[in-house]
């Protein structure tokens, strides 16, 4: 029974100047890229979007909120690569700043949801008994709400805006993560080394953190990447409905809400580019997540 975290590949040492641990990390990244060309492609998209979002101030040619009434609904040109919208705002700049909003929402939701899910799932599996039964009951009820319905209900109560949107999308993601990690943790709980650890007199905290959590890292990471994409899609949908991020914050879904349909025949670029940004980013995360699943979970390979 191997208990090594499935992320670490053992690679024969090759003469190199890099220290031991770094080499294995770079090597495993390289192996990942070679074995998973689609996943690498997805990773590249994600990295480009992350760079765009992080350095929006320096990359974006215009301010995302500056109106230019002399250049409304301009088609793509050298001055405005992706054209301008009905208020004369530069589309490219808005998409670059929108990447920031999307990634903030995506990562916040995914990280908070999967961490809470891990606490609930692993805790529930480890302690078992009544706690497990009641917790699963509650999570089942939350799972009965489709994601967007739950998010809309939360928005209906707490209102719109970035923070409420993050809250609204995180809540329905938590039980989805908890359920998967619980089943992984249940399998690990039955493994003899957990009994051994208990026999050694280790406390609950040590057994959970040192022995159980490292073993659910693989499904945890897979869920995390999947959640980022789902959260970005959900945010875009909410914003498109006018119930998510509010103006003047640049967000992709919001860009499609304003004039996309109204100007469909006269200025189609308003409708095309923001949607393309959403689709590409989520596509990138899905490809990367799929490849990660294949790499981390050999049982699922080739499926």
């Amino acid at each position: 029974m191997t208990i090594a975290a499935p992320t670490s590949y053992t690679i024969p040492a090759i003469a190199d100047d890099l220290p031991e641990i770094r080499r294995s990390l770079w090597r495993s990244a390289w192996i990942f890229c070679r074995r998973q060309p689609l996943g690498t492609f997805g990773m590249v998209i994600v990295i480009i979007m992350a760079i765009a979002g992080l350095s929006a101030e320096w990359i974006a040619p215009y301010s995302p909120t500056a109106n230019d009434f002399s250049a409304m609904t301009e088609p793509p040109s050298w001055a405005h690569w992706l054209g301008t919208d009905q208020f004369g705002r530069d589309q490219l700049s808005r998409i670059i700043y929108g990447a920031r909003t999307a990634l903030i929402v995506g990562f916040s939701c995914a990280i908070i949801a999967s961490l809470s899910g891990m606490v609930l799932g692993v805790g529930s599996a480890y302690f078992g008994g009544r706690l497990d039964l009641y917790l699963q009951g509650v999570l089942d009820v939350v799972m009965a709400f489709p994601l967007i319905i739950m998010a809309l209900a939360v928005v209906a109560i707490f209102g719109t805006g970035v923070h409420n949107v993050i809250f609204a999308i995180t809540i329905p993601l938590i039980p989805r993560c908890a359920r998967v990690l619980r089943s992984s943790a249940l399998a690990i709980r039955e493994v003899p080394y957990i009994d051994a650890a208990r026999a050694c007199g280790f406390g609950h905290r040590r057994i959970i953190l040192r022995h159980m959590v490292p073993n659910v890292v693989a499904p945890f990471l897979i869920l995390l990447t999947a959640f980022v994409g789902q959260a970005i899609l959900a945010e875009a949908s909410l914003s498109y409905l006018g119930l998510g991020v509010q103006e003047p914050v640049p967000a992709w879904g919001l860009m499609l809400q304003g004039g996309a349909e109204e100007y469909a025949s006269t200025a189609p670029w308003i409708a095309v580019f923001p949607g393309l940004a959403i689709a590409l980013t989520v596509f990138g995360f899905s490809l990367f997540g799929d490849a990660l699943r294949d790499a981390l979970d050999p049982k699922l390979r080739d499926r």
Binding site: G137, D140, V141, I149, I157, A271, P274, I278
Partner: protein, 323 residues
Amino acid sequence: MYRYIIKRILLVIPTLLGAAALVFLLMRLIPGDICVVRLGSGGGTFDERAVAACHAQLGLDRPMVLQFVDFVWGFVRGDFGISMWSGKPVLTEIAARFPVSLEIAIMAVVVATIIAIPLGTLSALKQNSPIDFVIRVVSIAGLATPSFWLGILFILAILNISQSAFGAPWMPPIDYVPIWQDPLRNLSMVVFPALTVGYRTSAVTMRMTRSAMLEVLREDYIRTARAKGLVEHLIINRHALKNALLPVVTLIGIEAAFLIGGLVVTEQVFNLNGIGRLFVQSVQNQDYTMTQALVMLVVAAFVLTNTVVDLLYAWLDPRIRYG
């Protein structure tokens, strides 16, 4: 088997009660007094007596537990209250909008199945070939494409194509006519939203079909079938597909959630007066009675679909024996 069926059906009750409790609590979490919000929304002035009257009318002056019992009992009797926005009974409003959404949902599932099962099977049969690669990319793209954007692209295409073909832009009708009255008009209205919602559903189904098929194709009995010289298409159709489609059936239940989510957004894009649009409007208008009724209905529909699918699965797969 019968014990399993009864157990599974009884399991619906606690889930629905739990969901009702959650909705009930969520609606009580609304910051501020709902009556103040309601009376103040018109911009007029109001006094304490009006607030108290409103409390009495909504039953908010009674104990929480009684309110909850009333709430659940209302749902059981099919009495969802009065819409706070339009003043009409919630049930009438929902009933008027239901047929459009139902038709789109059914058509989307049909479209998705027609696309997904052949392509998923093909993808599995030609694993790691260029065809497989293309199908996989198409299905991942289906998961990544926001349905409202796909809808907008459809509108864009319809407008531009009709403009160049007839010289005047044409848009699908937005007022609902039942299919038995004017099939052409009905279909021209429903087909594009159904394609929009269906693409996503087909993407998920395609992936599931592919992975289930790959698993089945490695089974011993497939090798046996090949060894005895059975024709390939019989192996695929009679032996492999039959078993591979079992998990796909389950998936349709899970897909119901995505379908509803897709409907909410797609109806907005195509300006269709369905349940999804009603839901968005009720959230925008802070129509809490409507919102809670719709959330409960969606959850009930989702839970019931899942139950039916579970039972179907137990019935279809004789290998599964339930205690």
